[in-house]
Symmetry: C2
Subunit: 140 residues, 2 copies
Amino acid sequence: MSDYQVINAGAPEQWHDVVSPNGARGKQFVDAGLETQYVGVSLNANQPGEAAARWHSHSQLEEIYLFLAGEGQMALNDDVIDVHPGTIVRVGQGVWRAWRALPDSPGELRWLCIRGGGADLKSIGHDADFDHDRPLPWAA
Amino acid sequence: MSDYQVINAGAPEQWHDVVSPNGARGKQFVDAGLETQYVGVSLNANQPGEAAARWHSHSQLEEIYLFLAGEGQMALNDDVIDVHPGTIVRVGQGVWRAWRALPDSPGELRWLCIRGGGADLKSIGHDADFDHDRPLPWAA
């Protein structure tokens, strides 16, 4: 798939204002506008204290979480790690993951989620599983 | 390739200080430290006026250029586009590309280059071509 495409997805300080088609605020799948072939990217911003609503994992996709601003945590199976600007996490298939901005983060947690899976993204389709029942590790 | 790995690649304001193994300043291939499977990422920072040393293209890889800060330009075959924080450019196979930070950029041009190609990155190997002779469009 040759040629090139350009979009403007907003500067990082605008990412939290974006509302995705499913109503979520602060998550923008830029590969929808770009119709990418192999690589997917979402731009994410969470205000202090905001957290993923649920765990998820992928059966085929590799994901790279790249943190740019703010202070937060990622849950990876039974582990919880702190994330800072510059933290990059590669998450392999089958690993359950979730995230949050720390309640006392000095600003929004801004990060990218980059994904790919050894084939056209369209041929992989939706490979995500969700666990709505597993408590998040920072739940009260 | 399951499981997860974490590295700290430095906050964006530190990216220009990184010197890559080939001596280039301001380019960090984070997938080397992470040993990613499908998705490669480099962190890039150019001071005002700094430019790519040469054009390049890829025969297999798709690349996504995601601009976070500063003002610059990308050359895409015969086109030159302006890039700003939030500009995202998908570049398909065979397209020749180069970039620069504008001489009067208000700060460093900071951006990511994300790549993938429908197979393990290791099986793709080095698919880049370079054109050392083609003048860059902003050359004096």
